[in-house]
Amino acid sequence: MSQLSAASRPRLRAGCRLSESTQQGDVLLIPEGILRLVGPGKKILERCDGVRNVSDIIRDLQAEFPTVDPVRIETEVNTFLDRLHQKGVLDIG
């Protein structure tokens, strides 16, 4: 299997899409499943456009949240994307 790396350009796979629900907040709708997005999940996924790579996404978020520890942002993005990739939700190009 191909691994997610800094150069991967992730995007949501067909049939996986972001949505909002009054009861659940931000959610990712996937085949036979609903993933509730907490913390930066939605902001990360909005940047998964198949153009930006993982490094770009991390840099983007570091610029948007200058008061947050940049190492923490990097770890959170990697952990989050890795988990979604294992669930089969991402194309990693």
Binding site: M1, R13, S21, Q23, V27, L29, P31, H85, G88
Partner: protein, 361 residues
Amino acid sequence: MMASGPLSLIAEITHRCPLHCVYCSNPLEMQARQRELPTETWKNLFASAAKLGILQLHLTGGEPLARADLAELITAARQSNLYTNLITSGVGLTEERLAALVTAGLDHIQLSFQDSQEEPANEIAGTRSHSLKIELAHHIKHQRIAFTMNLVVHRQNLDRLPEMITLAEELAADRLEIAHVQYYGWALRNREALLPSRPQWERSLEVITAARERLKGRMRVDFVGPDYYAKYPKPCMGGWGRSVILIDPAGRTLPCHAAGVIPGLAFDNIQDHDLRWIWEQSPAFRKFRGKDWMPEPCRSCDRRTQDFGGCRCQAMLLTGDAAATDPVCTLSPMHGIVEAIVSSAQQQPDWIYRIDPAPVA
């Protein structure tokens, strides 16, 4: 107990079906075409469902393709922002019609297969459909849509599991769902021929575990076991009246596919009440919601909030009491019933096929 909001709507839009599967999960008494809800009623329902907080719609049947208004229903569902899943045998789905359904906004198609090989697949379905499905799978891959290959497994085909996984890889499914037959509806009639042996079951677990690891990130592999071999029962429907509403072709609302087997339950019709009232007030949905109905050992069991006492319909079918602990649970005082069934499972099938719903006289 107060109801939390439902998340999924299962819409059985028709019971008509070109297949005659020996394990059909539809109720034994099906709704005839003349009683099917009209297009507008379904469309209004989808809007009410979204208002109630429902996020996902599963269009199923019977064979949902038998409804000529399917694309219109999908368009309406997407306008209500529902995630739309089509559960289909694929029979009758041309490349053109598939494209129309995707254009209408379909998110996910779940195509059922009966086997990896043509002959046994057609035997199970009671019709020639396997090669059509293979062709359709190739068309699906040309669309931007999630593709689940659903394989129903049982005693007669479980040994071909590695071959089925290979087929799913060849067809490039995004998700593979291997689901053991569950013993309700028509499947209960054929149970002795369908229930796998214990060694067969244990081998299949090894195959699945290895495939999951190998395919991680490429193809999601979901597996539903035969619960007669489980230690604890399945959390049926995620708990009675907890997250799912099922609506049958005639508009009856049910907490699950099989709930019709439970005597004394009246299923309110969507033509008489609105969806919110049904979810919150309908006696059928309240009957086994929460834990007040539970007998021992469920009532004091640590697992009562995980498996919710198991399946009410299975309790009914096997013990004659819908409020009993699901007898597949090894803690159930009635578990001996399941042990006896497992030890008497036969070798050679003698299928009982079902036929289409009878027209109203």
